[in-house]
Amino acid sequence: MSNIIQRNKSEKRFQFYGLLAVGLAIFLLLVLLFKIFSTGFSAFNQTYLGVKIQIEKGENLSELDARSTLRKNLRNMFPEAQSRSDKKNLYSLFSPGAYIEFKEMLEAYDGDVIDGYYYFLASDDLDMYFKGTVARQGNSAGRIKPSQMKFVDEFVKMNLIELQFNRYLLGSADSRNPEMAGILGAIYGSLFAILIAFVTSFPLGVLTAIYLEKLTKQNAFSDLIETNINNLAAVPSIVFGLLGLAIFLNFFELPRSASLVGGLTLGLMTLPTIVIASRSAIKSVPPSIEEASIGLGSSKVQTIFNFTLPLAMPGILTGTIIGIARAIGETAPLLMIGMVAFIVDIPQGPLDASTALPVQIFLWQDSPERAFVERTSAAIIVLLIFLFLLNITAVYLRKKLEKKW
């Protein structure tokens, strides 16, 4: 054995490696979160351009063509834009959503004369430039050409460009135009899917757990079910997607891309988690309580439903929430059953074609537009906050309802 100084040195070294490993794991987590949050934060604001709108008395506001009126007012602001291409460059600084906003404004407007500056949605290229995501090089920035830049500079000089809260991101469904794309449709799809997953897997999982824990003796049959459930918990999620594809789509012929199918598939995936968590919760209920109930003349089923289950409920719910949280973030099985599509409508029910939040993230990160990068991060932020809240609820439930026997 080497001398004590060397041994102590190696002891210190060993401890340092351990600390380094823990630190590295935490550091990687922080880098990931920092990167996501710093990229995505800017997506909650959006660039708007001010336009001087002048509409004289005598015009019926709700009958005006929003598109041409807005363009006319724009040309009044920039009389120097005469050529066709100049006009086109000027118009292209605005998003198609600007016309929709103007139309809505006209419909909601009370008076009969409009005179003043109003702000309208800018295009994603301008948005990227104004937020500084795309740097200016000479007279161009990313996809903004010098011929457009002169108008942008005009707007900046007149102080008619500003950031406003991004009402599209959380208020609309997907769109080809990044500045108008939102995650509301995906959130609805996720909620429908999760609701269905919960409704199918929770009762099945709890009933299975009760049966395995309380109503059957240890025999070959119960062993088979037990090993089976333990192995199902480790089956890759994509295999569940293939199961959903083969069973729900090809055999039962349920509609493709519907959140119903997604929910059922996620439900099958969550089932083993719920069974395992419920079993350990049921196991931790002290037998003395059950024996007291039996001793007073209750039947086995009465004991289970009146004592065991209520006492095990916090543990069961905690396990279920964790399982559901995992299902919310799951993407691969949903790709298999066709929930990966460009869908501009907000789904009205679980039978409508829809995406889910993680699938929306997957779709957006694949889009070539620069502006989708920050929107992808913003969607991730929403997803992470949602998961965080769910997990906090689970921890709270466990702390609050946990009983020490």
Partner: protein, 458 residues
């Protein structure tokens, strides 16, 4: 009468039968409680079950039968169309037209007559269904009310039904496994009708040719899956090289060195890594890790450094599985009896010597088990590799090159437009079959190792 109204009627009758039977049983109870076998609410429950069960079963059977009959009949309207995909397109067109979801009359001579047939027959079927089901429900409703007598053992029956339900629920888990195996096996066997097993398992060229048109040159594709398997292995190994040391040393530090306070903070923080959705890791790989490694590659002048290299996908995958290794290893290190540890320390060994020479050997099974579990996770992980690794199958062991994995191929082959009978689609099922069995075997081995180890000290 709509389907919603029918369901509401059934539910209403069920609630009413619960209420009536309960009231009748309560009246019996009031006369002589000792004579009555079951509590009133058991009588109510049994009546409710008796009322609702036949109606629900009938409703499901009827809808299922009706669907298949309508489908065959509708298809016969379009029997002149050769392409089965086109036929199902027309059929769904008819359905959505009748449902009011679309108002396009499709371009087919029989379309309007098909619409007419579907419209009248669904109406007829619904009317007939409603009448039959309501009559049957009324009969069971009446019958269940007659059953409420003092001697009637409603509680026994209800409990029997409950226990049976639980038993079937637990059997359902077996059906899931069976469903997975059968659905994979069925397509896999069909795949092996067109591609030889040996070619699939030992062939070294994988290009499931995306034929755009039928009969295109080279549309048959080649299905030698070895490059796919080696790619999976390479990425998973890189992931294990990242996660193994970090996970193992974290577990050692947390279980042996850290104070309770540090442990109570650090452990949940590391476990957050396991709760982050994998699509987020994939995005992280694309926007951060990818560019970082690419810059490193340029800095060190590495030839052929691909932006979809195995290194990027592997290292991000590694970050994801750190918590699996850390927490499972931590569990097995903590399960080593204190007496062993204290015995070694009392002999004058330092804590690091105790850890490496006593605790790790004593919990070796558990550590191996946790590594195997993490490895099986890495093999089955999909989103990270789909986003960070490539689709082209290269047979290489160079971590700087792009490789593909089993899961990437499955996603690539099954998303987007697909004809369901092509070898291309079925090869995805064959790959999934291999994936399923590989993870299953890894899982069984690791679970049995962990279990064996646990029994040693208990």
């Amino acid at each position: 009468m709509t389907i919603e109204f029918l369901i509401l009627t059934i539910l209403g009758l069920t609630a009413y039968s619960f209420f009536l039977s309960k009231r009748k049983a309560s009246a019996l109870n009031a006369i002589n409680p000792l004579d009555v076998h079951s509590q009133p609410h058991y009588h109510g429950l049994f009546s409710a079950i008796l009322t609702i069960a036949p109606a629900i079963i009938l409703l499901f059977l009827w809808s299922w039968l009706e669907n298949s009959i309508f489908k065959t009949n509708l298809e016969s309207y379009f029997s002149d169309v050769v392409d089965p995909y086109k036929v199902s397109f027309y059929v769904s067109g008819v359905k959505s037209f009748v449902a009011g979801a679309s108002d396009t009359l499709m371009n087919h001579s029989n379309f309007s007559s098909a619409v007419e047939y579907y419209e009248t027959s669904t109406k007829m079927s619904l009317a007939l269904k409603s009448i039959v089901i309501v009559i049957i429900t009324l009969i069971t409703f009446r019958y269940s009310l007659n059953l409420v007598t003092a001697k009637f053992k409603a509680r026994d029956l209800v409990e029997d039904i409950v226990i049976r339900t639980m038993k079937y629920a637990s059997i359902f888990a077996i059906f899931i496994t069976l469903g997975i195996v059968l659905s994979l096996l069925f397509e896999t066997l069909r795949f092996f009708e067109s591609v030889a097993v040996t070619e699939f398992l030992f062939g070294t060229h994988w290009s499931p040719q995306m034929s755009i048109r039928e009969g295109q040159v080279g549309s048959s594709g080649s299905f030698g899956a070895v490059p796919v398997f080696t790619g999976t292995l390479l990425i998973s190994l890189i992931a294990m090289l990242v996660a193994g040391p970090i996970g193992l040393f974290s577990a050692i530090y947390l279980s042996q060195y850290a104070s309770n306070r540090v442990r109570s903070y650090a452990k949940p923080i590391i476990e957050i890594l396991a709760g982050i959705p994998t699509v987020v890791y994939g995005f992280f790989a694309v926007i951060t890790v990818g560019p970082f490694f690419r810059d490193l590659g340029i800095f060190f002048n590495i030839d052929g450094f691909s932006s979809e290299s195995a290194l990027i996908a592997g290292s991000v995958l590694g970050i994801m599985i750190i918590p699996f290794i850390a927490s499972l290893t931590d569990d097995s290190l903590s399960a080593v009896p204190r007496s062993l540890k204290e015995g070694s320390l009392a002999m004058g060994a330092t804590l690091s010597e105790t850890t490496t020479r006593v605790i790790i050997p004593a919990s070796f099974h558990g550590i191996v088990g946790s590594f195997l579990l993490a490895f099986s996770r890495a093999i089955g992980e999909t989103m990270i590799v789909v986003m960070a690794a490539g689709f082209a199958a290269n047979l290489t062991a160079n971590p700087f090159n792009a490789v593909t994995t089993v899961t990437v191929q499955i996603v690539g082959l099954l998303t987007g437009d697909q004809e369901f009978d092509s070898a291309k689609t079925m090869s995805a099922f064959a790959l999934a079959f291999v994936l399923f069995f590989l993870t299953l075997i890894l899982n069984i081995i690791s679970l049995s190792i962990v279990k064996k180890f646990r029994e040693q000290y208990e």
